[in-house]
Subunit: 340 residues, 2 copies
Amino acid sequence: MLFEIVMRACIERAWQSQTLALPNPSVACALLSPTNEVLALQAHSKAHTPHAEVLALRQAFNALSPAPMPAHLDPLDKEANYRFLAQNHSGLFKDCTLVVTLEPCNHFGKTPPCAALLEQVHPKRVVVGTLEPSKKAQGGLKRLKQAGVEVLSGVLEKACSDLLTPFTCLENKGAFNLFKIATRLDGSYLGKISDQESQIFTHNQRTVANHLIISGKSVRLDRPTLNTRLATPPYQGLCHAAILTRNTSPFDPTIPLFGVKGRRVQVCHEVKQLPLKQGFNVIEGGWGLFESLRDHIDMLLIHTNASLQEGAQGLACHCTQGFKPLHSQILGQDMLAWLA
Amino acid sequence: MLFEIVMRACIERAWQSQTLALPNPSVACALLSPTNEVLALQAHSKAHTPHAEVLALRQAFNALSPAPMPAHLDPLDKEANYRFLAQNHSGLFKDCTLVVTLEPCNHFGKTPPCAALLEQVHPKRVVVGTLEPSKKAQGGLKRLKQAGVEVLSGVLEKACSDLLTPFTCLENKGAFNLFKIATRLDGSYLGKISDQESQIFTHNQRTVANHLIISGKSVRLDRPTLNTRLATPPYQGLCHAAILTRNTSPFDPTIPLFGVKGRRVQVCHEVKQLPLKQGFNVIEGGWGLFESLRDHIDMLLIHTNASLQEGAQGLACHCTQGFKPLHSQILGQDMLAWLA
């Protein structure tokens, strides 16, 4: 039951940065000491930074080693941390158990695979949630078994595989289209809604997205900026925008959305002109926009603010559809629900 | 970090039966072996059945003892399980750690206090989330410390104390009024909404409630039964009903609500006539009923079904109010949110 409980904690942690590591999958990893103390719990939360396994080994290294990691070693430097651990583990992890939501990767990118690092570091046991779905990265567990590491897989398999939905969608069809809506408890969604923590998440998500898709109506009414000013660390992602509008009159060019440096804004009068066929696209809008794009939407993310607003009635929804709730979490005064 | 992760798992488990053990608090408990294996995880989910500590010790006994619990011992018999563990623990738990969301009780009811059982069973360590708020049950940790048990308290204190909201409200003011609403993702709440698992939870909750309060409008329109036919185990609780209606014309007596055996139905034309001053009362309705009763509502429970329904628009809400989200969880096709 310990492995299930630790895996559940990894799953929760991984959902906290869901989509933020795209095009990589959302993965979290924990490291247990020989007496099953939890030494580390880490998620991979941005592409080109260390994988969850490396982050967890790094955190555990500091707990186990008499000498800490060198101060000059940037925690976000993928290659340097990999190399440091491979060279300096000194058998520290040999009686430890590594728990990870996804099979460790087995392909060479900028760094050698996590499976190769684990082979060297050689923990006693690796506990895995779900197997790597991407052919090019498969084989990690086989490699570890051959190296004599005890392997246990399929722990909370379904929940770990749900975590991969955005990643596998992007892998399989080349695009992942997420519809994001912010509402209140009463279903209303006009005016300013979201809590600051929730907004930070949204801005971080925009730094990763290829396109932001919004409706002409919301551009004209709300005059939004839709940039990434709240992202952590501050990062002005290029996140291009596409506007779906049936109204052919031009937009006021002083609307801040059009002034974001380096951003392209595409005005589309038909759904087929929208950039929905490639990359990670975030559609931010209300149920009207959802209805127009429903055939293209892969997942739904609802930010529900814990409030009621007098007279701020939700708009009637013009479609009937059932979803599968994958995860729900609290973020400040908002509740986030992920559905597929 | 292990204790935090196990405590978090206890908190999640306890919310799954939130309000169902009233007038007792919602509490969950885990037992860790000397090597920190999780041997047991249990919640107290009904008054007059064993406390979480006893249930966890029972489950761990079966994992540790060469001889299992006797088959004739009813798992739900509070006294028999307490007595059995006190007499037969044989030092099995002496190197174990007990993790529990609430300080073990220290008062005599039908059985002696949990703290007295733990004193006998004598685990190595007791890890506690929050202290017992009820004066008559306090002193458990002090007793354990005096008995030489290592005690660690305040682990995830805030989250553990949030769990107690219904209990402390009932203790402090003699009443706990929960407003429950079922909606869809679009905020609409007319017609049949909830998933079966969600309905089972609601029926279990009604078996514990003193009164169910509904609006005259919903009685006339929906002709509900509002009984406990789906409760597990099947149990026809008496859960009396009170209807708030401004319409003075009589109700059709063939509406099933009026035919539930042993139930009293009170028709109230004013809020002050409603049974809101005493006991655990569940108010089931829409935002109109919420608005009429908002000054009396202690907590909000929203069951959101993962669906959209064409044309089933939510009704405008006539009040502005902010809440604090305490917990969110998935239950079948529904998401439950608890707010205070």
